[in-house]
Amino acid sequence: MDKINDLDLEDLNYQLPRRHRTEELAKLANSTKFTRKEIQLIYRGFKQECPTGLVDEDNFKAIFSQFFPQGDASQYAHYVFNTIKQGQNNGKIGFEDFLNILSRVSRGTVQEKLQWIFGLYDLNGDGLITQAEMLDVVNSIYDMLGRNTEPQVETTSAKEHVEKIFHQIDTNKDGVVTIEELVDWCLQDEKIVQSLEMLDTVL
């Protein structure tokens, strides 16, 4: 009698490992700006890389680093990873989150894109970008270059770059950049608005 009770208790505590179920294809096609065929292609590749359907940060960094073979892309990948809302998957991103961000950033409106960019630079999520935060992100961008560039990347390159740009964006000179200042800065330069459209991918 006692033995059976023990087994029951064990069963109660035992959590069945649950498989992460991705959203339906039709739903995704409706909620994002990709066509069915494109989503199919993307998903097949995604699932091949991550058979469980979830990407954790190390995985993400490794995948991201392959596109920048000459430098170290892990820090930038870390910042990008943080912009993706993880939802309930405790630190891992599922296909829906991935596709959501992709749709917003590569095919969204200028406002959505700028929103995402602001989220990227605002490391602590307080709605303001300080010069230090921008310096961190720009440092990570320079890290991706690696050593074999002309001219070479110095340790002060990023700092100089940030100092040049930050003052131009921070129009009211209060030491922080708000989302409106960023939007204004990007919209007033035609070239920047154009550049935002250059990074979509044809599948």
């Binding site: 995604f46 995402w116 320079y142 001219p151 990347v153 920047i192 991918t201 044809v202 599948l203």
Partner: protein, 610 residues
């Protein structure tokens, strides 16, 4: 579709973060939105009647294997519209899985030679076998080669990576730790070994009798007869040992750690008695202590453990088998006490008995349990004899039990040691491959850029350019566009890396696979000219245009002759001789073709760059 390519859209999207801080505006994308990618198609492969189907892109992940390249066209059967191979279908399954998952597995029930033949046929190098199966494969291969009396086990573990050590200290330390790195280290190794042997022999021979003590009874040991000779010998040995110890101390990277290590303590114990002996005068009080000190000289024999790995492993085994040894000692002690007590009480009443006390009986029990039986203590009563019999029988059992455990521990640790060496060699080779692949992918981007510059230069100088190109791999184009955006953001340009030649001996008849990229592009341009001569009827001049800020703001029309470039690049790779790869995996085995460098868990980035 190449799976990593699935993430390219995301990487490109993430690059939007660079836009606000970009120093120059980003170049336009190479492909307009209305250009569609050609649909992927499924290929049918018939291997001895068993049909396999897979996507074309899966096979083209590894472009310099048979299936991934044009070589498979030789096996195309027009009538049935399939590729027919008259090979083993069971092994082909694993080969196809390699394309699908990137991991090559080795089936344990297959014969090693037949598996290797299939790999060679399909152009897959055996060093891409995954970690899970690699050990098994290696073990089988070793047995095989030993059986064929063709020992291919190389001892190059120590010869890898002759780094440039900057200072004398590091060089010395390395030559102390690995005697095989240089001739002087080897000489030092043998010299110290020789002197250890000489010293130990001298200690031994010192005590041999060399004649009769003059005027007294008793023999004269050689040590006293040839006192000066032995003293000189001892001095010489101690000089050498002291010098060695001081040199090691000087060269050690962490002196405190070195001083606490076992070997250094043994060194100190070996030479201390001599110096203490020098200090002590011929005083009767301390001469007893002096004699004791000489005993410590025998510790010099432990210095041999630097020279013998087996000895070190034995020591390590004993250390790790401490619990089994402890059990052995404990159970023996228990048995000794029990039997000694019983023997004592059984033999107590015999007159003039040897068993005067229980501790005295201990000696008898030990001698009996280990089946030595000196016979100096013998029971006389019947009860005593019975107990003695039981004692010797149980002794065999108690001692025999823990010994196999210790032996198996030794064997396990020994094999583990070997496995660690194998794994180290494989990891080094894999890191080298990753380095090469990174270098090649970076170099490919730079060369593509140069090709585009060349084409544009030709266009600018008014040469007629043939509009002859075919569907370019759009992922590659877009990936390169991404890298150009990074260049524009940071106002820098990627340049070619100097791939270092790692000093490995070249195999005869093959060019060094890690030729510097400048060399490769030179030959590429040669081929480019040759190919373009055929296709485009013109000759290009590769002009390196650097720091031309206006260059990329022009409309980058699709690359001309990139098709030709691709072909010339693959031509370049094919021109390397393909020899079957049968030797062991270590740094010497740099694969010939640059693109085929990825193994199981390396990424398939190479789909972009060929």
């Amino acid at each position: 579709m190449a799976s990593v390519a699935a993430w390219l859209p995301f990487a490109r999207a993430a690059a939007i973060g660079w836009v606000p801080i970009a120093t120059h505006p980003l170049p336009p994308p190479p492909i307009s939105k209305d250009r569609r990618k050609s649909e992927d198609e499924k290929l049918l492969i018939n291997v001895s009647g068993r049909r396999f189907e897979t996507w074309r892109n899966t096979l083209e992940k590894y472009p310099d294997t048979l299936l991934g390249s044009n070589e498979r066209e030789f096996f195309y059967d027009e009538d049935s519209k399939q590729y027919f191979f008259d090979r083993d279908p069971d092994i082909f399954r694993h080969i196809l899985n390699y394309y699908r998952t990137g991991k090559l597995h080795y089936p344990k029930h297959e014969c090693l030679t037949s598996y290797e033949e299939e790999l060679a046929f399909f152009g897959i190098l055996s060093d891409v076998i995954g970690d899970c199966c690699f050990e098994d494969y290696k073990d089988r291969k070793r047995e095989n080669s030993e059986r064929l009396m063709d020992d291919k086990l190389s001892e190059n573990g120590d010869n890898q990576n002759l780094q440039q050590l900057t200072n004398i200290r590091q060089k010395m330390w390395r030559s102390f730790e690995n005697p095989h790195t240089s001739t002087s280290a080897l000489v030092f190794y043998y010299v110290t070994g020789f002197f250890i042997a000489v010293s130990v022999m001298a200690n031994v021979i010192e005590t041999v009798s060399c004649g009769i003590k003059p005027g007294r009874s008793g023999t004269l040991p050689c040590g006293e007869r040839y006192k000066i000779v032995f003293f000189c010998l001892d001095t010489a040995c101690v000089m050498i040992f002291t010098a060695e110890y001081l040199l090691r101390l000087f060269a050690a990277p962490d002196r405190c750690k070195f001083m606490r290590s076992v070997m250094s303590i043994i060194d100190v114990v070996a030479i201390m008695p001599y110096y203490i002996g020098l200090g002590i005068t011929d005083n009767d009080d301390v001469s007893g202590a002096f004699v004791t000190l000489r005993v410590f000289r025998v510790f010099r024999i432990f210095k041999f453990s630097r020279h013998s790995q087996g000895l070190r492993i034995l020591g390590y085994t004993l250390k790790s088998c401490a619990s089994e040894l402890g059990f052995l000692v404990f159970s023996l002690a228990m048995a000794i006490i029990i039997f000694a007590t019983v023997m004592f009480y059984a033999e107590k009443n015999v007159e003039s008995t040897n068993f005067t006390s229980i501790p005295a009986a201990f000696w008898y029990t030990i001698v009996t349990m280990t089946t030595l039986g000196y016979g100096d203590m013998v029971p006389k009563t019947i009860a005593g004899k019975i107990v003695g019999g039981v004692c010797s029988l149980s002794g065999v059992l108690v001692i025999a039990l823990p010994v196999p455990v210790i032996v198996s521990n030794f064997s396990r640790i020994y094999h583990q040691n070997q496995r660690a060496d194998k794994r180290k060699a494989q990891r080094k080779a894999r890191l080298a491959r990753i380095r090469i692949a990174k270098a090649s992918s970076g170099a490919a981007f730079v060369s593509k850029k140069k090709a585009a510059e060349a084409r544009l230069a030709a266009q600018e100088s008014g040469l007629e350019v043939d509009e002859n190109y075919r569907e370019e791999d759009i992922f590659e184009l877009q990936h390169h566009h991404l890298l150009r955006c990074l260049e524009k953001t940071t106002d820098r340009e990627f340049v070619e890396m100097e791939v270092p030649y790692n000093g490995q001996p070249k195999r005869p008849g093959s060019p060094s696979p890690m030729a510097s990229p400048t060399h490769s592009t030179a030959s590429n341009t040669g081929l480019l000219q040759a190919c373009c001569g055929r296709c485009c009827g013109q000759r290009y001049q590769v002009k390196a245009i650097r720091h031309d800020p206006n260059f990329f703001t022009d409309q980058c029309a699709p690359f001309l002759c990139t098709y030709i470039y691709l072909h010339s690049f693959s031509f370049f790779l094919y021109s390397f001789p393909h020899t079957p790869h049968t030797s062991d995996d270590d740094d010497n085995n740099i694969p010939y073709t640059i693109s085929h460098v990825f193994s199981s868990d390396d990424r398939r980035l190479i789909t972009f760059f060929n």
